[in-house]
Amino acid sequence: MLTKRIIPCLDVRDGRVVKGVNFLGLNDVDDPVALARFYNAAGADELVFYDITASHEGRKLFADVLERTAAEVFIPLTVGGGIRSTDDFDRVLKAGADKVSVNSGAIKNPALIGEAAKKYGSQCVVLSVDVKRVDGKYHVFQNGGRIDTGLDACAYCAEGEARGAGEIVLNSIDTDGVKTGFDIEMLNEVCGRVKIPVVASGGAGRREDFLKLFQKTSVDAGLAASIFHFREVELGALKRYLSENEIPVRQ
């Protein structure tokens, strides 16, 4: 039986993890390679590196981080941030990424999904969507949740699937950072419209939130950042807890 995946996400700027992470018994570890190694050993099923660099130098540092991580961490690596063209796909795939996550780039140029799927295969094309409620409807937002595109999230995801996306990440802006649980209602609404795997993001605060996510929705994976970095939820303990509650996980 396919297991539910738990995915830590690292924000990287100029080759270092943003804010640093203070749980290795050391002060503010901000080396993405060290953290990837740590999460791999702790049982992460996949890792997401989100590049928030804009500069050319930052991009080079990021590629270097990716190469060094992929040389010693052998679980799937997903890369997002600033992906606008198939050249961007090329750049990160060659540095060791397995999947590439597109967000704003697909809003501005929906054909990018299809082009990338044709060139590199659907298995490495991840459509990342920021979703927020507007007047009782789910809208797609862009620029980190600041701009309402007016697009219907369900229709947008279904279109992304039809164009060749292999997976969808749904980030709920309504629950993001609130730590009161994933956006079950929204996730169910969108999951009902697509057949490809869905990753839930935004809202995890406690291990119970992951249990509820997997009990109440058909999503395949839960993604979180700070709760893992600040050890509010510990990966190994989370997986044991889920397993005890009959959620299939890899241990």
């Binding site: 039986m1 297991t3 791999n40 052998f74 298995q123």
Partner: protein
């Protein structure tokens, strides 16, 4: 030396790095002379069977791989590379494979539909490996129930005696197959953490 056949399908970065990591000498190559000299061969691959089979044929790899297999050189097909080892595939029309292992590649969707199951496709994620032949060389360092990482929409059927290990995804998905020194993994050992490295290590140490 292990030759990783580069016929223009997929990203070989992780595969190369995982062999480096376990200390196995390797070369990514499309040069028949290098492949002829290799002690063992890995056939990788992602994407559609038809495209990959066409590229493999254009590169002249069909006769080369068949000859190497006949000479007893260990060959490991990974993901689509495993599917190419079989007789044929029904992915977007009928396509001929290498025919090194008896069986046919079929869409998971058709089998799941026939059973009335609505599993997500592709199968993407970690699934447990159940052993059929626990003493098979590829399983030398593995434990039953180990989790491995799959990404695929098609699977091998009618594999008969070659089945070494499988995973459950509504149907029995052949995870590892072997016929003589020709072996295949439907999952990605280079992405399956320690469980995957254990399988790669067993392959590079295997002596027919």
């Amino acid at each position: 030396m292990t030759a990783i056949v580069d016929y223009g399908v997929g990203n070989l970065f992780s595969l190369r790095r995982s062999l480096d990591f376990i200390g196995a000498q390797n070369a990514v190559t499309n040069d028949p002379a290098v492949i002829l000299k290799a002690d063992r061969i890995i056939l990788p691959g992602v994407g559609a069977f038809g495209d990959a089979a066409k590229k493999l044929a254009e590169g002249g790899f069909f006769p080369l791989l068949r000859e190497r297999a006949a000479s007893g050189v260990p060959i490991l097909g990974i993901c689509l590379g495993m599917q190419l080892l079989f007789d044929e595939s029904e992915e977007f029309g009928r396509h001929e494979g290498l025919g090194l292992i008896s069986g046919r590649v079929c869409p998971l969707k058709a089998s799941l539909d026939a059973l009335g199951l609505s599993y997500k496709l592709p199968q993407m994620g970690w699934n447990a490996l159940h052993f059929v032949k626990a003493d098979a060389p590829l399983l030398k360092y593995s434990r039953a129930g180990a989790f491995v990482y799959y990404v695929h929409s098609h699977y091998a059927t009618e594999v008969k005696d070659s089945l070494v290990a499988f995973s459950e995804y509504g149907v029995r998905v052949p995870g590892i197959v072997q016929a003589g020194s020709v072996m295949g993994c439907q999952f990605h050992p280079e992405k399956s953490g320690d469980a995957g490295l254990a399988i790669l290590r067993a392959f590079v140490e295997y002596q027919p």
